[in-house]
Amino acid sequence: MGNDARTPAAAASADFEEVQATQQFQELRKRHRSFVFPMAIAFLLWYFAYVILAAYAVDFMSTKVWGNINVGIIMGLLQFVTTFAITGWYVSYSNRRLDPIAADIRHGIEGHEYDKSGSSGQGGGAK
């Protein structure tokens, strides 16, 4: 149905459980999760810390730091800075640590390295 109407034969004939069990794929998954989960938790905590301060620590947020610029404005602008920084960090991490290994596994599958026994080249549809 739907998803693999145009799936290349290699992907349709591959044994994905075999791929999933390979050390290379486990490594890819570990690298992906060990970056995105802590990062997602960190930015959500930082954002909600900011929102909670804005709601419940108005005096602190209203403290003037420089001219009319107060802690609230600075923390708000810092949210922009951290968002841009995390974006840049993730892109560089993906380019270095995720993309090469993902491409390697992909080429392996497309080169029929993981075909199910007896169905090589048939691509009989995964569903």
């Binding site: 739907g2 992907a11 591959a14 954002y47 947020m61 107060n70 708000g76 922009f80 993309d99 491409a103």
Partner: protein
């Protein structure tokens, strides 16, 4: 250009109606030519729904910004800052930070596992029928709420920008907006819609940039003196501090927490945003799209800080509140103050283009979901050919367009601002838990998905119906009745954790196991991109 008026003369706005209309007509003419040119290659379903997967990451990122920066962002946030000060700025931050969820957890994995719609991903390794139906229903619900808010907003915008204040005239303009939108989507499909969004994003960001630099120049490029000017004009130094709008009571503080939760978790689950990731050829381009959109959207929201406080300082909160269109008139009035009728005309046209582009994006998403999920996979049980599916999608566009026009006329003048917040809350409750679980939790089952999606959808809508926005308050939709047993206007703080809980509970109580080979396939495909449809060659 005429001399800049010392204070904004609201009555003089009417004289610029013809100019506004002229600039808007020019936008429509230019985009229509581009849509016609872009549509010549629309042949297959992938062309119609996903623009042949032929856009680059930077193009798609710009289109995402165009899709995301709705009139509510541009006019609503600028107005909220101008009147409520700091609390308005907090919307900007929530709307931006939310993109990290899309970048880190959703965009690339989704691009790798789906084809046209959100339901493709959610039903990948679960039972097709129940999950697809649930995902399509929640997609249609989010699109409907968002669409209704945009169309109703068009009515009040018109009263300000074109000086059409009678009901019949506004209805006529809503019909024109709806008809134009139907034409764009019908002729151009996803490709045409994407180009409209790209053009609109460029115009919007350029217009906002000019106004921002102009305001900053007036204050010697010193943010502190701009803030000082705003505080002085408001005669209230508290506009620079949080709490003016949401800090009044404990309930309103909690309400803001609830809104913040829905904004930050809802964005990455908005179906019309998700669908945009299918217009690029690879996951790497999907990543690049999000990077571009984070850049553009972030830049724009920094502008809103200057524009909002600039409007407060230069136009004044009382003038804004007194103008037709109320809070929404802050940005246009600031444009008039700075650049006279020409800049006002430009900004007004941009605001119209914004509504048009956003409703077009919503309509094609809803049509794709109906044709691809409900019709092709459920009614025709996967036996419909692609041509029939696209034919159904095109007919759905017309039906949705007509519904949107009727809804817009009916809701015109109603207080429907809560609908956008509701759309985010529904997206965060009904869609996000299932997206996250099915991408990252091996054990997740069909029952968990169905419980989470229906539970999230129903709880968000029921809580809104029982909240002060519908009854029991001074600005409620239904006056003279009070069944508001839920104190908050934003249901997210209850409905989002509930949906996550239901997804977990439904899974652990499910006696059936899902096919481990489908789970393996989904995980391998999502991380490596193997088997994902490549760009269609023309």
């Amino acid at each position: 250009m005429i001399t800049i008026p010392a204070a904004v003369d609201v009555a003089a706005l009417k004289d610029t109606t013809l100019l506004n209309m002229g600039i808007f007509a020019l936008f429509v003419a230019v985009t229509m030519v581009i849509v016609l040119r872009a549509s010549r290659n629309n042949k297959t379903a992938a062309d119609y729904y996903a623009a042949g997967r032929s856009f680059t990451g930077s193009q798609n990122g710009t289109a995402i910004a165009g899709d995301y920066l709705s009139a509510a962002s541009f006019l609503g946030i600028t107005g909220a800052i101008a009147i409520n000060g700091y609390d308005g700025f907090m919307y900007s931050i929530g709307f931006l930070v939310a993109w990290l969820v899309a970048l880190l957890l959703v965009a690339e994995l989704l691009r790798n596992t789906g084809k046209y719609t959100m339901a493709d991903v959610l039903s990948f390794r679960l039972r097709q029928r129940p999950v697809r139906i649930a995902a399509a229903i929640s997609t249609l619900a989010v699109c409907f709420f968002y669409l209704l808010a945009q169309m109703a907003g068009a009515g009040s915008l018109i009263s300000l920008l074109l000086g059409i204040s009678d009901w019949g005239g506004q209805a006529l303009v809503i019909i024109v907006v709806g008809a134009l939108m139907i034409m764009y989507v019908l002729i151009g499909g996803m490709k045409g819609t994407t180009w409209v969004q790209i053009i609109k994003a460029c115009l919007l960001i350029a217009g906002a940039a000019v106004m921002t630099l102009w305001v900053l120049a007036i204050y010697g490029f010193n943010l502190s003196s701009l803030l000082g000017g705003a505080a002085e004009a408001a005669n209230n130094p508290a506009v620079l501090n949080p709490g003016l709008q949401y800090g009044k009571t404990e309930t309103s503080k909690l309400d803001f927490m609830s809104l913040a939760l829905a904004l930050v978790l809802g964005t990455a689950a908005l179906p019309h945003v998700l669908m945009r990731f299918y217009t690029v050829p690879t996951a790497k381009e999907a990543r690049k799209s999000v990077v571009w959109s984070i850049g553009l959207i972030g830049l724009f929201y920094i502008f809103t800080l200057v524009l909002g406080y600039g409007a407060a300082a230069l136009v004044g909160a009382d003038t804004i509140k007194g103008a037709p269109g109320g809070v929404n008139s802050a940005a246009p009035l600031l444009a008039f103050h700075l650049g006279g009728p020409l800049l006002l005309g430009f900004i007004s046209a941009v605001a119209f283009a914004t509504i048009l582009a956003v409703v077009a994006g919503l309509t094609i998403t809803a049509a794709a979901s109906f044709a691809h999920d409900i019709y092709a996979n459920v009614i025709a049980k996967g036996k419909a050919d692609a041509d029939t599916e696209v034919k159904v999608a095109r007919r759905t566009v017309i039906v949705i367009g007509i519904l949107a026009i009727l809804g817009g006329i009916f809701a015109n003048g109603q207080n429907v601002a809560f609908l956008v917040a509701l759309a985010f809350a529904v997206a965060a409750s009904a869609n996000l838990p299932t997206i996250i679980y099915s991408l990252f939790w091996r054990r997740f089952t069909t029952q968990g998905a169905v419980w989470s999606m229906y539970g999230g959808l129903a709880s968000a809508i029921i809580l809104i119906a029982l909240s002060p926005v519908v009854s029991g308050g001074a600005t409620s939709m239904i006056k003279g009745a009070n069944f508001a047993v839920f104190p908050l206007s934003n249901p997210g703080i209850v409905s989002i954790p509930l949906a996550f809980l239901l997804g977990w509970l439904g899974t652990v109580l499910d006696k059936r196991q899902e096919d481990p080979s489908k789970q393996a396939e989904m995980e391998v495909r999502s991380l490596t991109g193997v088997g994902a449809e490549k760009a269609v060659e023309h």
